[in-house]
Symmetry: C2
DNA sequence: AGCGTCCCGGATAACGATTTCCAAGGGGAG
DNA sequence: CTCCCCTTGGAAATCGTTATCCGGGACGCT
């Protein structure tokens, strides 16, 4: 490129980045040559020299969980606005894989990491390792409190769900969740227990833990029905689980909301499509993604150090929880 | 690292890659030093020297379309098995953005591209540009025929849907789709027209094109109902659209499948959750993703040049299309 | 013993950019 | 008119690897 323009490589760099003034003639010559050759700088070489790759890594527990694609989309969009690319990794909810992924991302010299740790305890070492080397933002889930975080106030949201159900006249509850060790699951459960305890001590213990899947919802629902002691409301930690529950209730001749109220969480497309439509908790996914990207790029002005960004979730009340 | 081990950088490289035999003593020394320093090679420098970044780009039209996350997940998994990372880009169904993304990926010197072109015509220039520089595999959607492709036989699948409906006794059809210029949409429409023509010429013209969304399904359904000429079956190019249609039919007092049969496409989680469960076309998403990744890495043994991998879709028959 | 052949280390040159440093030239001030 | 500073171009170092090349020693063969 330099020789094609008949100037030194230094000049090329200066023209293309405007780092320093360059004589109009030389400037024109290099621009012409760049145009003619369709020249585009090699970002690998750039990265080696400038120690910045223009790449951000993102580690999520499960891309197929409908929660994440929307966040990923927002992240990618925001990154691109700043000229950065997204290296996406799926940890498959496995702490070992997750740690391996983080190391690999560091090897690639990403400029930052968006991390959704799958385990609020065991994910810590990997998180610390990464945070010591690059800007890191926890997104949706978290494992440590002194590193930046973006997500919604899970406890507040779950409390709102229960308080709403209580206002609907419910007194006895059951909670269907997963054994996931993600911070979000833990926080929702804690809020459930704490809020429900006020009206019925036994309900606080009535917790069914399996996985975040339709099938587990079905299994748990069967268990609840078999116990012959139907609560006033079944609270689910996730939409998929809620729809599994709904499926079994229906096939057992039980009607929602007539016989029992039902709520989900995450407000995926499933919730509004279901019949009856499912009451759920809507999180501002685009905002979470965008803010996460901003923070990790330091475009936020704030030192990403220990910034905590809690967004408010919105309770979407639908048929499945309307007493009639 | 080299000085820490007291050997030359060349030796370090040889030990770590096993490129050439190295004296046990030196070998042990470097390995010890590597361990001690927690040394990991800088992949940026490696990439500059070897002209291979260990990164593959992927361009999809819309990450939030539930079809893609599963494919992405499979791709990422397979790439990782080969030690590669995934650079994910969302074109937002915009040809201009798409072209920009491709250029950016090339700048980053990715080792290959998985491309799902959003427009079967206008995406060509970008596709050509990329294919001339790196191994490229078209995935799900395609724009040119002389570059590798992985996906399912859309025409065969849609033909199967129609033939099944005809076998159920349907004679008059309506087709709800989008104006998308993706190859998949075009192929499904072509198969619909072609197959339906055999039983009813008018049905071949009864096509409603909007977007791949719930809302468009609702609008189209209203239109169909208002025309006062309900077909025997409404065929949809997509599950979301079908569920939008279902929603309006239900609220207009029309019952599925009693008054009209209904089918979707893609067999997303929505299809099995809906009420009544929606007949849909299931595509082997994991296989598509895996095969795409294999091909682009050349791990397949085949020259990725013009390999075409068509998988067979599976018709999932559910309540929404069962005549009774 | 002499000579050719391996074998294996290290020195050295890339890879393709940015950045630092130096020098030449021009202009302003004393 | 001289001196100095400021501007601007290019030469060269650098980023951290891998690949090429060269040389010294060991070994085998005649």
């Amino acid at each position: 490129m330099a020789e094609a323009a008949g100037v030194s490589p230094a000049t090329v760099s200066r023209v293309l980045h405007g780092t320093r003034p360059v004589h109009p003639d030389l400037r024109a010559r290099t621009l012409a040559a760049a145009q003619r050759l369709n020249y585009r700088a090699n970002r690998v070489a750039q990265a080696l020299r400038t120690r910045s790759t223009g790449t951000v890594g993102m580690v999520v527990p499960n891309v197929a969980n409908p929660f994440f694609p929307v966040v990923i989309q927002a992240v990618e969009k925001e990154l691109r606005r700043h000229g950065a690319q997204l290296l996406l990794c799926d940890s498959g909810d496995d702490v070992g894989e997750e740690a391996e992924l983080v190391r690999s991302l560091l090897d690639h010299r990403i400029d930052g990491i968006l991390f959704s740790p799958c385990d609020q305890l065991s994910s810590r070492p990997a998180l610390r390792l990464a945070a010591a080397r690059v800007p890191l933002v926890q997104i949706d889930r978290r494992a440590v409190s002194d590193v930046a975080y973006v997500g919604v106030d899970q406890e507040g949201a779950m409390r709102e769900v229960i308080e709403y159900l209580i206002a609907q006249g419910c007194q006895r509850f059951a909670y269907v969740s997963s054994t996931s060790r993600a911070s979000t699951a833990a926080e929702r459960l804690r809020a459930y227990r704490h809020t429900v305890r006020g009206v019925d001590a036994r309900s606080a213990q009535r917790v069914y833990q399996g996985s975040f899947s339709l099938d587990w919802g079905r299994v748990a629902a069967k268990q609840i029905v078999d116990e012959g002691d139907l609560p006033d409301a079944i609270v689910c930690a996730n939409d998929s689980v809620a729809l599994g529950v709904l499926d079994v209730l229906r096939s057992q001749g039980l009607r929602v909301p007539d016989d029992v109220l039902l709520t989900g969480f995450d407000d995926t497309e499933l919730a509004s499509i279901a019949w009856p439509p499912l009451t759920s908790v809507h999180q501002p996914l685009e905002m979470i993604g965008r803010k996460g990207a901003e923070l990790v790029l330091g475009a936020d002005g704030v030192v990403a150090g220990r910034s905590v960004n809690l967004f408010k979730a919105e309770l979407k009340i639908r048929e499945s929880s309307r007493r009639r």
